[in-house]
Structure formats: structure tokens, C-alpha cells
């Protein structure tokens, strides 16, 4: 289409927001299918979730966008751009950037589950971005669907009129036509001006080994064409567009992207540090005066040490992390050394899921053999001499005598649970040093509970405990609010009388003895017996607060070996050797990878 014939008023940019499992990806699939964007025979389950990990976990990590052609009941062809969003609390900023690329959002609520903590968080984000919200009640085909109940809850909690709700079944396709019509009718067309200087919002990027970094953009104003010289306004880097295009969902090159369009740009971008989600692309010639609002540097919430098991693999690990960074702007890392683990990296993550995904990608996509240390939050440490330090690694905590006070990040946690579990939820929150703030009944059976609590307590096994004590029915969201002073102590772990820096952790003074004892016991379970006895001690400074022993190995022998067995027995020995290789030798002790994370699961046993 030539630029002159283009009709911006026929474009609709929207995304789908939902709590995990409420059917967002299935709904997206059904929309693609019913608009013939994807032929039924080409349908893979959940087309938009392109990473294997995403499909397995049922979550969307990396964003995708698709251009959909739809002939509405008024017989006019509309261009719908579906911009997918990650559905997890760790990725709030990414969600907010992709929502900033939209004018409307489909809010999916499961008719059998109702409103969840993330539903609320997403709605607030959508409202922040001034989006038109189209509430959709999904899974109406299920026997236990409670459409009226959900409508009522939406009205009471969010003030959404029940007339606006569209009941659908993403599984059977029922109601999808109504939804498509609603998108055309209710979502405003993009308001930008093609004649203004170019402003294109980067809402995602990925790395292609042939073409370099490919940013995904939504053009707010102006036009971008092949051959244009472009500039990233925050990063201040400059490139020339070699190609651009859209997804249908197949990649399709186009001549230009103009105000209202969503697509990809290829510009031989090699320097990965210069593409930030939230940044604005403009032209060198006739640049925009200012960048689009809302850009910020992402601040990681949890930090963890990432080390190769074999020191020789340091460079290949570095390379792998750099590659992941290409498609994950939120990842922050710096080199770090540990006396126990050698050379590695301290990596900052948006949250626990983000960390898990990162680890899994390193292991699966890049075949890295890793040691990851237990995550830590970022502490502000005020020293007696007036200095202030930011400490994201417990091993680096200065001596207690030098510390005047320590502040740690606090969050507001919102938990939504069936009322029968209110007692359990409150018990966990209290145990996790929570401060009760608020409790609201969303309906006769669902309760919203608000607590303030230290982020570090959420990092340490909060979610698993919440799940198990509410049979998986509670949902949870949090937002970091401020830093508060806490009486924290550093616990050192000594194996065979040697302090292992990578096992050190910070804990509130009141829990120190209990946690110290638990980690000693946990390590005793995890570390295999050696040829000598290994004392395990937990200490605060020079004072040992808990101890146990791993008894010496007493029997490790193949009782039988005859002619036919030799090859098989050799294989067994080789397997044993491989297992040993996966462990990290610290001093004379071989420590399995999972030991370094053991502090995380200390409480799941009771």
C-alpha cells in the first residue's frame, strides 16, 4: 500500500492481559485462526509463544506481535495489531512498554477462577497507559463457569459495567466474532501523525545471528523506511535501516512503517548494549524533539552469582550471557569473583521467575554447566564512618562492627485467596515478617489481603509456601515500595572448617539460629559423603550458631565383576565420574550445584 492510500483510522493496536492460565495464549490462537491469519493445519498450540520454554511453562516471556487483517460487519477491512505481553509480575516494565504501544487491551478473566492478583496489577497498568479495556470472560464452556459471578466481581472491584463484558470460549471459538467487533468498535485508532518527526517505541528486541539485534517497534509519529538513518534517543546510537517488516505471524518485509504501525527493524545492530526496551527511535534527519515518555533503566530486584562449574568455561558462559542479554534488555550483569567458585558473574533479575528462566536458557539453549548461588536483594549498608554501600552479594557484607545500620527493600504484596485459606495466608505473611495493611472481600468467597513485607522474604520460598498452604488457589503480586531498616545478620557457612563465601546469606536476627540449623541439615542431605568426615557449621562472625557432620564414606565398591560385566561396570564408573564432575570442588569438599540454592528451600519441609 502506498503511503498516500493508507488509512490510519482502520488500524487497531491492542494487547491481551490476563493472569497466568486464564487462557491468554489460547485466545490469541483462536483470534489468529478465525481471521485466517494462520491456517488451521499450521496451528501449533499457542502460536505466539515461540520459545519452547514458554510453551512448556504456559507463560509468555518474550513478546511477539502479529498483524491481523479483519473484515468487520461494516464490510471494511481493518488492520489489527495484536501485541502480546508477558504474563508475570517479574516483567511489569515490559508489560507496561507493550501496553504503551497499544490503544486497547483485552482483559481476560477465567469464568471459573475470577479476578486474580495479576489481573488487578495488569488492569492498573492498562489504566496507567490510558487504554480502552475490553473485559472478556473466558472458559464459558466449562461446567463450573460462573459468568454472572465474575461480572459482578469486575463491577465491584474495578467498576467495569457488566454490559461491557464479552463471554467467550477460546477453546470452542464461541464469542470470538463478538470480541473482534468490539475491538474494531471500542478501541480507538492510533492518534499519531505521519507528518511529524519519527518517534517509534521499542517494546521488545531479539537477536538473529545473521541480522543482529532486531528491535520491535510501534510507530507513534512519522514514517520509517528502508535506508533511513536512525538514532536511539536514550542510547544515542546510530544505524541505517537495512530492512523492515511486520509479522503475520510469518515475517513479512514491507516498504515502510508509519504512524500506528507495529513491526520489526533490521539495521545491522551489533552493539547489544544500545537497544533498550522503552527507548525511542527517531531519524537523524529531522529528529523528534523529545523521546516518548515512560522510558526508564530497569532496576533488578534480585541478584545471584552465576559461575561455570569448570573454570575453563568462563568465556563460553560470558558469551552465552551476552547472547541472552540480546533479547532480554532487563538483564544486568557484572563480573564477580568468589573464593569458592572462582570467576563468574553477578546477575541482576527482575524477579525469581526471570532468574529461573535465565538459568534454564543457559543450560538448555547454551549447554552451560552452571553453579547459581542463592539470590539476594540489594541492601543499603550505612557504615559507622558515614559511607553508604549497596550490597547485592551477602559475601561482600562488611564486618558487623563497621556497620551502623542496614536497610532492605520492602514490597506491598497483594494476595487474593478463597476465604477458607485466609488464616493460612496470614500465618505465612506474619512468619515472613509481614505487616498487615488491608483486607477486602471481593465477593462472598474471595478475599484480597494486603501486606507489607521485606522483598528478601518473598525471594526465600514465599511463593511455594503460599501455593501449598492454599492448595494453589491463591494468587499473588507485589510491588517494591521503599527501603527500611532491619536488624539483619550475615550467616557464614563453614565446610570442613573453611568458610564458603558463596553459601553466605543474610537473615533477620530473630531467625538466624533457626535458619542456620536448617541450612546445616539441608547441606548434610545434599552433599555426598566423602572419604573423610566433614563438619558443617553456620556462624555469625566468629560465633558458631549451628553445626552438624557429614559422616565419612564407608562403602563404595562394585561387588561383582566378571568377564561379561567389564564394559558395563566401566560405564557405571564413568557415570559416577560424570556426577562428580558436575560438582564444584571447594577446598577438599565437592559440592553439588543445588547446594548453593539450598537456602531457598529451607522451609518447604515443614
Amino acid at each position: 500500500m502506498s503511503l498516500e492510500n493508507r488509512d490510519q483510522s482502520k488500524i487497531r493496536n491492542f494487547s491481551i492481559i490476563a493472569h497466568i492460565d486464564h487462557g491468554k495464549s489460547t485466545l490469541a490462537d483462536r483470534i489468529l485462526e478465525s481471521t485466517h491469519s494462520v491456517e488451521k493445519r499450521d496451528m501449533k498450540e499457542q502460536v505466539l509463544d515461540s520459545m519452547d520454554l514458554e510453551r512448556e511453562r504456559g507463560i509468555t516471556i518474550k513478546l511477539n506481535s502479529v498483524k491481523i487483517k479483519y473484515k468487520a460487519k461494516d464490510d471494511i477491512d481493518y488492520m489489527l495489531n495484536l501485541i502480546d505481553t508477558p504474563g508475570h509480575v517479574d516483567f511489569t516494565y515490559e508489560v507496561s512498554r507493550s501496553l504503551a504501544a497499544c490503544d486497547g487491551a483485552i482483559l481476560v478473566v477465567d469464568a471459573t477462577q475470577g479476578i486474580e492478583a495479576q489481573t488487578l496489577a495488569n488492569v492498573y497498568l492498562a489504566l496507567d497507559n490510558d487504554l480502552e479495556i475490553i473485559p472478556v470472560i473466558n472458559k464459558i464452556d466449562l461446567d463450573n463457569a460462573d459468568v454472572e459471578g465474575v461480572k459482578k466481581a469486575l463491577e465491584e472491584t474495578l467498576g467495569i459495567s457488566s454490559d461491557e463484558c464479552i463471554p467467550v470460549s477460546a477453546k470452542t471459538g464461541e464469542g470470538i466474532e463478538d470480541l473482534l467487533e468490539a475491538i474494531v468498535e471500542r478501541v480507538p485508532s492510533p492518534q499519531g501523525d505521519v507528518n511529524e518527526p519519527l518517534q517509534a517505541l521499542i517494546f521488545d528486541s531479539f537477536y538473529d545471528s545473521y541480522r543482529g539485534v532486531i528491535p520491535l517497534v510501534m510507530v507513534k509519529n512519522g514514517v520509517i523506511k528502508k535506508g533511513d538513518k536512525i538514532k536511539m534517543m536514550a542510547a544515542k546510537s546510530v544505524y541505517e535501516v537495512s530492512d523492515l517488516g511486520i509479522y503475520t505471524p510469518k515475517e513479512l518485509p514491507v516498504e515502510y512503517l508509519a504512524a500506528g504501525d507495529v513491526g520489526w527493524i533490521s539495521a545491522a545492530i551489533k552493539d547489544i548494549e544500545n537497544i533498550h526496551v522503552g527507548d525511542t527511535v527517531t531519524l537523524i534527519k529531522n529528529p523528534a524533539k523529545e523521546q516518548l515518555p515512560g522510558y526508564r533503566e530497569l532496576t533488578p530486584m534480585v541478584y545471584s552469582g552465576v559461575y561455570p562449574v569448570e573454570a575453563d568455561d568462563y568465556l563460553s558462559l560470558k558469551d552465552a550471557i551476552e547472547k541472552i542479554k540480546l533479547s532480554d534488555a532487563s538483564l544486568k550483569y557484572t563480573p564477580e569473583t568468589s573464593s569458592a567458585l572462582g570467576f563468574g558473574f553477578r546477575v541482576g533479575f527482575l524477579g525469581m521467575l526471570h532468574m529461573e528462566i535465565f538459568q534454564e536458557r543457559l543450560e538448555r539453549e547454551f549447554n552451560q554447566n552452571l553453579i547459581t548461588t542463592a539470590p539476594s536483594v540489594n541492601y543499603m549498608v550505612y557504615l559507622e564512618n558515614g559511607d553508604v554501600l549497596e550490597i547485592d552479594n551477602p559475601a561482600k557484607m562488611p564486618d558487623r562492627q563497621m556497620v551502623q545500620r542496614i536497610e532492605e527493600p520492602y514490597v506491598v504484596a497483594t494476595i487474593i485467596t478463597p476465604n477458607e485459606f485466609v488464616g493460612n495466608v496470614m500465618e505465612i505473611c506474619q512468619y515472613k515478617r509481614g505487616i498487615f495493611k488491608d483486607m477486602k472481600y471481593q465477593s462472598d468467597i474471595r478475599v484480597e489481603i494486603v501486606y507489607e513485607m521485606p522483598l528478601s522474604e518473598i525471594v526465600y520460598d514465599f511463593f511455594n509456601r503460599l501455593k501449598s498452604s492454599t492448595k494453589g488457589y491463591a494468587s499473588f503480586d507485589y510491588e517494591v515500595t521503599d527501603l527500611r531498616e532491619s536488624d539483619l545478620v550475615k550467616i557464614d557457612i563453614l565446610l570442613n572448617s573453611e568458610s564458603v563465601d558463596a553459601l553466605a546469606f543474610l537473615v533477620h536476627k530473630d531467625f538466624s539460629r533457626d535458619r542456620g540449623l536448617r541450612i546445616c541439615q539441608k547441606l548434610k542431605e545434599i552433599i555426598p559423603r566423602h572419604m573423610f568426615e566433614i563438619p558443617i557449621q553456620a556462624a555469625i562472625g566468629s560465633k558458631v550458631i549451628a553445626r552438624t557432620n557429614i559422616k565419612a564414606l564407608r562403602k563404595d565398591v562394585l561387588s561383582k565383576c566378571y568377564g561379561g560385566d567389564i564394559s558395563r561396570k566401566k560405564k557405571l564408573l564413568e557415570k559416577q565420574k560424570k556426577g562428580k564432575k558436575r560438582m564444584k570442588s571447594v577446598g577438599s569438599v565437592e559440592i553439588p550445584q543445588e547446594a548453593f540454592m539450598s537456602v531457598l528451600s529451607l522451609e518447604s519441609d515443614n
Partner: protein, 361 residues
Amino acid sequence: MPFCDQICTYCDFCKMVTSDHTKKEYMKALIKELEYYSDLLSHIETIYIGGGTPSSLDDDLLDAFLEELKLMVDMKQIKEFTIEANPNDVTDNWIKTLKKHHITRVSMGVQSMSENILKFLGRTHTAQIVEDAIKTLKKSKLNFNLDFLYAIPGQTKEDLEKDLNYIKKFDPHHISYYSLILEDKTVLNYLINKHKVDDFSEDLARDFGEIIDDKLNGIGYKKYEFSNYCKPGFESKHNLIYWNLEEYLGVGLNASSQFNYVRMINPRKISVYLNDINDKSLTMHHLEDFNPQLETLLVGLRKTEGIDLEQYKKKFKIDVFKLYPQLKKYIDLDLLKIEGSRLMFTNEGVYLSNQVFVDII
């Protein structure tokens, strides 16, 4: 002989319960396979018929097979001829067949004398049947070995002491006393993985092993390999061939051979084996990993006397400590020791031998 009357819960050997027809077919195939190797058969000094359960063959089938074997092997040069047996099968008639064909030694799987343990292991014999079989064996004057197991889930110290007392009473020439190994793909492994049965503790297994060592030593048995004990002069000549990494020929289903610096193994599936033999196209799969410098240690150090360092150097043209400098560490740790020109495990080292093997493999 891959045939059994019943399958034990811990066994992962190649074995099957099958019809008489298949057994006949198989015995014919065995003879054919032996015929291929007739030139090699003139060099053999020991024969071992293992299983499965060789004693589960009918006497006439066994008789016919041994008759054929006699035509191919000069029995006068055979120094030891062993057959494995289940206590249920040891009868006067069976013994008569063995003697007729120059079999010199019986290896009988007793495993335990406690009825509950025998049942748990899936064995069908009883303590009484064992006692009767021993009587028959003694009467025959054949040299005999008894297989026993320890570290069996549920086994108590009393069970162990009972077995040791029976051993004293039975007075065999040779004892193989194995710590039970959990093999993949066995009923027992399944039960333990599913926590239906408690695994046997490592510490108790070590204690049991030492009780066995002491007791057998006290009643005149010499421990000459990790799990094997004998009266002086009654070492298994055949098994020493394995531990000395000498050459052997294996025939039959899933049998392995080692000669001319290769190790090979026959097919594990009986239909494949029978077809191959009948088509004269038996494929013995070459096992790539034959590494005599390493394996001399892996099997040689299983013997109480260990390996001769000078012979090693002569054979491989390299000093073993040059090839495996790690070994020195284990001498310092008292797991290995040198006596004269021999390298061997210490008593402690035997029980931790995998730690050494894993380091050199």
C-alpha cells in the same frame, strides 16, 4: 544358558522363562556356534556354564549338549569345569550327568538361609532344600561354590549370623559373598525407588561386610577377591582369567568374549541370536572400549594380591604411576599399598575402591 524357572527380583542378567522347544533350538544353536570356534577350543583350560540357570535344563538335554561338547573339546586339558545350579535342581541324577561329562565344580546360588528373605528375593527354594542339595553335593565329592548375598533390604544381623553359621556347617570349597547391587530395570529397584522398600544403609552394609570378612577368615577361608573367598588352593581358575585380563571365549545369548585385544558381545535377543546362527551370520558386537592398561587395574586390583608392577611395566612399556599418577595419592590415603613388587588395595581400600577407579577411568 539364559533360561530360568523363575525370575529373581534383583537379577538383571540376560534371562527368560521359556518353552522346551525354544530350549532345544537354543542348544542346537550353541553347538553350531561352538563349531565356528573349533580352532580356538583346542586352547581352552577352563569351562564355565553360567546363566540364567543351567540346572533348569532337563537332564537329557544337558546330557546331549555335553556329549557334543566332548567331541569338540579335549577334556583332559580342562583344569576346571564349572556349572551353575539352583538348589532345587541338585539331584543324584543330575550329578550323575555332570560326572559323566567331566564337570568338576558346581556353583550353587543359595543367597540366604532366611525364608522371608528368599521369598523377598523371588527365590523358590527353602533352607531345607539347600540342606538337601548340600548333602547331595558332598556325597558327589565335587568341588563346590556357594553364592550368598548380604545388604538385602530387611536383612538383620541375626539373619547374617545365621547364614555364616550355615556356611561353617556346609563347609564349601569356595564362597562368593556379594553385597546386593541395585540394578536398573529390576523389580527390586522399582520397589526401592517407589519407597515401597527401604534401601539398605551404607554404614550397615560396611559393618556386615567386615563381619563376613572376619568370620570367614576365622574358619579358614582366604579372601582372594572383593567378593570371593576360598579354602587354600580352591580359587576359581576360570574367574581368575577375568581378573587377570586374560583371553576367553563366550558362546550363547549375550555372551561376551575377549581375545586378540578386542572384546565382543553376542546379541541379547534370542530370536536374533537363533536367526544369526542359522544364517551363519552371527554378529558379535565389537565393544570399542577395550583398554588393557586401564582394565588391568580395574579387574586386577579386585584381587587381594593386586597386580604385579614389574609385569605391568613389561607388558605396557610404561610404569603404572607414570600413566596414572593419581594412584600415589591413594597410597598416601592408605587405600592402596605396595608390597614387594605388587600394588594392592588395603582392607579399607577394598570398600572404597570406586573412589580410586573413578579417578583413573
